[in-house]
């Protein structure tokens, strides 16, 4: 389904000053498109996802799904959280079935469909395990299966792999791509990882910080495989990273002492090249 964000604005009012978290954010996502949203921490990425998911209301603007305005939480839109949000009192299978249970699907149909999606994420072996028995990567697989099984047509992902180690993340990125191709869902993934964004997306949006705006749009249509061996891929990552670094620095200047600046000529490398990729989200 086609997702339209139209002029979304949101302010947080604090005692001393108001902070504009989102300022006139608007873009369309085609049905079945994979879009990544990238920006420094504090640029309102998570707020934007919360608004699309219906958890928060925007001050101005609207979210349209196939022309219909989303005013609250809608089951067509499902979220995959960084910290999984699986229910600890249910086992893996019951977690995946939960959404279907809520929409009143019969037990047998529920089970069959849950197993189908568990198979897609390769976890049928652990269907009776409880959540605490799973590793981080396995938990995120269950969460993906849960969202797919609830028949949402749009998947919103909020830094889904940020808490995972590098290797696990690589595997899951590849599998997410597979799942996307198999199911044709519309995907919006929020990340701070430029490589991940370029690897997965059709389009990447870079957000600016304070106020949170869409700063630049990149269409990722590089020919060939998407890995660092491909110079076009590396170039694209570098280009987006440069754009992002301006914002990261801007955000950092607000957080740190006034004399803070990036040492531009490090001994071995340009320090900034690491930041967009490896710095974990501060929360």
């Amino acid at each position: 389904m086609k997702l339209i964000l139209d002029g979304l604005s949101k302010e947080f009012r604090a005692k001393s000053h108001n902070r504009v978290v989102l300022d006139d954010v608007g873009f369309d996502i085609r049905s079945g498109e994979f879009v990544c949203l990238i920006g420094p921490s504090g640029c309102g990425k998570t707020t934007l996802l919360n608004i699309i998911a219906g958890f928060e209301k925007p001050d101005r603007g609207q979210v349209l799904l196939d022309g219909k305005e989303i005013t609250g939480v809608a089951t067509e839109i499902s979220v995959i959280f960084q910290d999984y949000a699986l229910f600890p009192w249910l086992n893996v299978l019951e977690n995946v079935e939960y959404g279907m249970k809520m929409s009143g699907i019969s037990r047998a149909a529920r089970r069959e469909k849950a197993l189908k999606y568990l198979k897609m994420v390769h976890l049928t072996k652990h269907q009776n395990a409880y959540v605490h028995e799973l590793s981080g990567g396995m938990k995120q697989r269950v969460a993906i299966a849960r969202s797919l099984a609830s028949d949402a047509s749009v998947l919103l992902m909020d830094e889904p792999f940020a808490a995972l180690d590098y290797q696990t993340r690589r595997i899951l990125q590849a599998e997410l791509q597979n799942i996307w191709q198999k199911t044709g869902k519309t995907m919006l993934l929020v990340t701070h990882n430029v490589e991940e964004a370029v690897l997965l997306a059709d389009r990447v949006f870079v957000m600016s910080v304070n106020p949170g705006r869409i700063k630049k749009e990149y269409r990722i249509d590089i020919p060939g495989n998407r890995h660092f061996g491909n110079p076009l891929f590396a170039e694209m990552v570098e280009k987006i990273l440069d754009e992002l670094m301006v914002e990261v620095e801007k955000a950092a200047k607000e957080e740190y002492d006034s004399d803070w600046h990036l040492e531009k000529n490090g001994i071995r490398h340009f320090a900034a090249a690491d930041l967009g990729i490896a710095v974990p989200d501060k929360r």
């Binding site: 998911a53 939480v73 979220v79 959280f81 699986l86 939960y98 605490h132 609830s150």
Partner: protein, 248 residues
Amino acid sequence: MLLLIWELLYLINVDYLGIWKPYCFPPPLAVAEKIWQLATDGILLIAVMQSMKRMVIGFGISLCLGVVIGLSILKAKDMEKSLVSLLMGLQTLPSICWLPFAVLWFGLNDQAIIFVVVIGSTFSMALTVESAIKNVSPVYIKAAKMLGAKGLPMYISFYIPVTLPAIVAGMKQAWSFSWRALMAGEMLVSAVGLGQVLIMGRELADISQVVASMVVIVAIGLLVNRLVFEKIEYGIRRKWGTLINDGE
């Protein structure tokens, strides 16, 4: 160990020094004999059964009431703060203070005692429910909502299980409040029950019967905790993965 200290205290203070009179402080053996005697007479069994019956009824009612009150407070958003402090205030009032009311309303009978039992734990249960729901992690609520949970099914399939650990902890406390209220009620109303066995001991100047019923009261409190609440808690911890030593 405790029994040894007890016996030693008895020997020193009553037998040798004679500071305490034997009718003030029974030796452990006399208490054990008394328990045995009460048990073989059948008095103990009847008393325990009667007490448990009141307890189960009273505690059941207070659980339901507590949940209803707790949820209503959450619904009445504007008045939540003042309602919570009202409940806190009522909770500090020992439930036996309600006995005069109970006797006036229900008479000197079982219902009055059950009323006191209910009052004893309802407020604490309501506060537990209220804070348990307020402490649910927002990300779980988001997940449940996005999966389409709302209304009554959301309460049954989400709020009850997600708050269960906190609720069971609250139930443990509420149970001990109720148990105390029950004993006080039975002693004052003097209906057949453990509290009455204790007060009979006092009236007969039989200190070992008093201590015997005290021991039984504590023992039942412990037993219920072991057999009911700890079992439930263990089950929850095993699922949630919060057991520290589960031998894995």
